[in-house]
Point group: C2
Chain length 190, copies 2
DNA sequence: TTAAAATGATAACATTTGTTAACGCATACA
DNA sequence: TGTATGCGTTAACAAATGTTATCATTTTAA
């Protein structure tokens, strides 16, 4: 409970009363490695806050192949946020890769926060901006850097990722095959 | 002046007084095709609203090659938003591709809006969410669709783009060479 | 403890994509 | 009007990346 409060306090001013009411309807859940927090086809009705653990975001293409789109770490919010905002069925799997504890914030709480917390809208803005910057950076790197450069810079975005995630998932995140990543590493001259 | 008011009113409630004060320090500017609205290396101090025209967002890689990262159309906000938020030097060129008229909203106005407009933070949240959804969609497509599929779906995101932008810029946006796009189109069997 | 499964490296080969150059056509402009 | 420039297509070839298979090692689970 403390970690989410800390993170929110680092972004906005909120009274204890606001904070407690905001979190009142949240619940804690724990997932084992490879367990699934959310599946595609369902309208997302909650936002997750990861207190510890690691969540992989996956999309499946038409052929059924799965692609790792994102890794979400402790002290971050994660959701199929587009689906949540648009109230459309999600497209992502959210999968724990480690034993992972989350707070589940239902839509009701988010909406309560927007309407009733002094800085609720600001909190929403800052979270959206955080992910905007993450996405923007990612797209910059995609256009302006090679896969190997992106590989070498990965740990800046996901600290310690190489000790927490198998390499083939990293290859998937980079948009290349595991075989190719292995080759690139071999020729990694820096 | 009317178009930006309409767009803002479609997102939030705002009194005439709020709206007029918010826009008080904005100015109108007009750019000819290929003129540049913003360059990398400078901390972005304003947000643009395109009342008509079309702006291309470009990033240059280490080799100096330019990549088209985005097209911004009329009635949209555009900026090097990451740089604006983080107060860091921008990385993008913003280039008009048609005769383009914009409102330039200085940082001062944005901050005034956050502090003084009833729904200022909400406006910021909705704009950040809009671009979040755009980015998210884009990344989904990047992983789950082929370049040809992305080409065929382009006009959904950028209406009439094929009549407004030369094909080699579209190829650049898709992350492929003009020669390759030409080949793909030739084999486009649907 | 042991057997099965997952992981990562590597090789051989196939496919995709990039590079360079040439050409025809349209457009801009002097 | 004529000339230069930009655009899109095509072809030939090169480079990058994917595919499939094999192997050794580590991890997982019975």
């Amino acid at each position: 409970m403390e970690s989410i409060k800390q993170v929110i306090h680092s972004m906005i001013q909120a009274s204890d009363r606001e904070m407690n009411q905001f979190l009142e309807d949240s619940r804690v859940a724990t997932y084992q490695p490879y367990e699934v927090l959310a599946e595609p086809g369902v309208i997302p009705e909650s936002i997750f806050f990861i207190s510890h653990g690691l969540v992989r975001v996956i999309i499946a293409d038409q052929a059924g192949d799965e692609h790792t789109i994102h890794f979400a770490l402790e002290n971050q919010f994660i959701a199929d946020y587009s689906g949540f905002i648009l109230r459309q069925p999600g497209l992502y799997y959210l999968q724990a890769l480690e034993e992972t504890q989350v707070f589940i914030l239902p839509r009701k709480s988010i909406e309560w926060g927007y309407s009733n917390m002094q800085e609720g809208q600001k909190l929403g803005r800052l979270i959206a901006e955080f992910y905007f910057i993450y996405h923007d950076n990612r797209i910059k790197n995609l256009y302006a850097r090679t896969p190997l450069e992106r590989y070498n810079a990965l740990a800046e975005v996901f600290p310690n990722i190489h000790n927490r995630v198998p390499q083939h998932m990293i290859a998937s995140y980079l948009g290349i095959t595991p075989v190719h990543l292995s080759r690139l590493k071999k020729n990694n001259r820096y």
